[in-house]
């Protein structure tokens, strides 16, 4: 799925909420519009969290770093230099 799908959906919800907050007279309806805006913000948080995961993966892999953690490093035995 492209990132634009949930982002445009969240933008639609947010703008509908802005319209409701600006144009409604009843306080309960203003509260519902604020709920719509909060839902849009939550969708944005989840989507940008996924994008941040993509960025983090790209960062780690581009630095030639392994994605795992090193638990133990074992020393190799001393190399014997053969003189000839």
């Amino acid at each position: 799925m492209q990132a634009a799908f949930p982002l445009v959906f969240a933008a639609l919800l947010f703008c509908v909420g802005v319209f409701g907050v600006l144009s409604r007279r009843n306080a309960v309806l203003v509260l519902m519009s604020v709920e719509l805006m909060l839902a849009a913000v939550t969708i944005n948080l989840v989507t940008f969290g996924l994008l941040a995961e993509l960025l983090a993966r790209t960062y780690y892999e581009s630095q030639n770093k392994p994605v795992y953690a090193i638990r133990e490093v074992r020393q190799t035995p001393e190399r014997v230099v053969v003189e000839g």
């Binding site: 919800l13 939550t42 989507t47 993509l54």
Partner: protein, 201 residues
């Protein structure tokens, strides 16, 4: 377009339509029921993005609690419930502003993220539980304590307006004429009468 794109498009169309119906509906209860559909479609978006814990939390908290709270608030107060005009004078200005904002945001999003594919993977709820209760256990408990404090503060604020303890009936009727809420021990002490009581007798 893959299957998940088609499902996401359907969920977005359903949620957007019901959100628009929330803000143009002339009946408050209908608006609340359309808000249920909009929030369920938001939960469907979370499911499609792989955040299943967030999706079920959205269903439980928003659809299960907030909507029920709004409906109870409408039923228990004396709010008028029939269909009536709910808009104020500058509806056209608000519509123009929100359409312009949506156009701006949509162009911006399509230019920035138009061809960015999301790395979709299901986040298991067990991993969230481990992170929340093991790594972030202390901030989580602090948050719970703050919520308890907010709850107690809300109860204290709500009770202070009505006065502490039961008052006589005529005091409740004269509440709007008093400039400041009087202490409750006035009615128990004989010989002290307020001007409102003198007028009434």
């Amino acid at each position: 377009m893959t299957v998940i794109d088609v499902v996401m498009l359907a969920v977005a169309v359903l949620g957007g339509a019901s959100a628009i119906l929330v803000v143009v509906s002339r009946n408050v209860v209908h608006a609340a029921l359309y808000l249920v559909v909009a929030l369920i479609s938001v939960a469907g978006t979370f499911l499609l993005l792989g955040a299943e814990f967030l999706a079920w939390t959205q269903v439980l908290v928003y659809v299960g609690a907030v909507i029920v709270l709004i409906l109870f608030g409408l039923m228990l107060t004396r709010a008028p419930l029939g269909p009536m005009p709910q808009d104020n004078d500058h509806t056209r200005l608000a519509a123009a502003l929100s359409v312009a904002l949506f156009g701006f945001l949509a162009v911006l999003i399509m230019q920035a993220f138009g061809d960015t594919a999301l790395p979709l993977s299901v986040t298991p709820t067990a991993a969230i539980g481990e992170i929340l209760y093991v790594h972030w256990a202390f901030p989580f408990m602090v948050l719970g304590f703050f919520l308890t404090v907010a709850l107690v503060g809300a109860i204290v604020l709500a009770r202070r307006e009505e006065g502490e303890g039961p008052e006589p009936l005529f005091d409740a009727e004269m509440d709007s004429e008093r400039p400041t809420p009087a202490p409750t021990d006035v009615s128990t002490t004989p010989g002290v009468t307020r001007p409102s009581q003198e007028i009434r007798t």
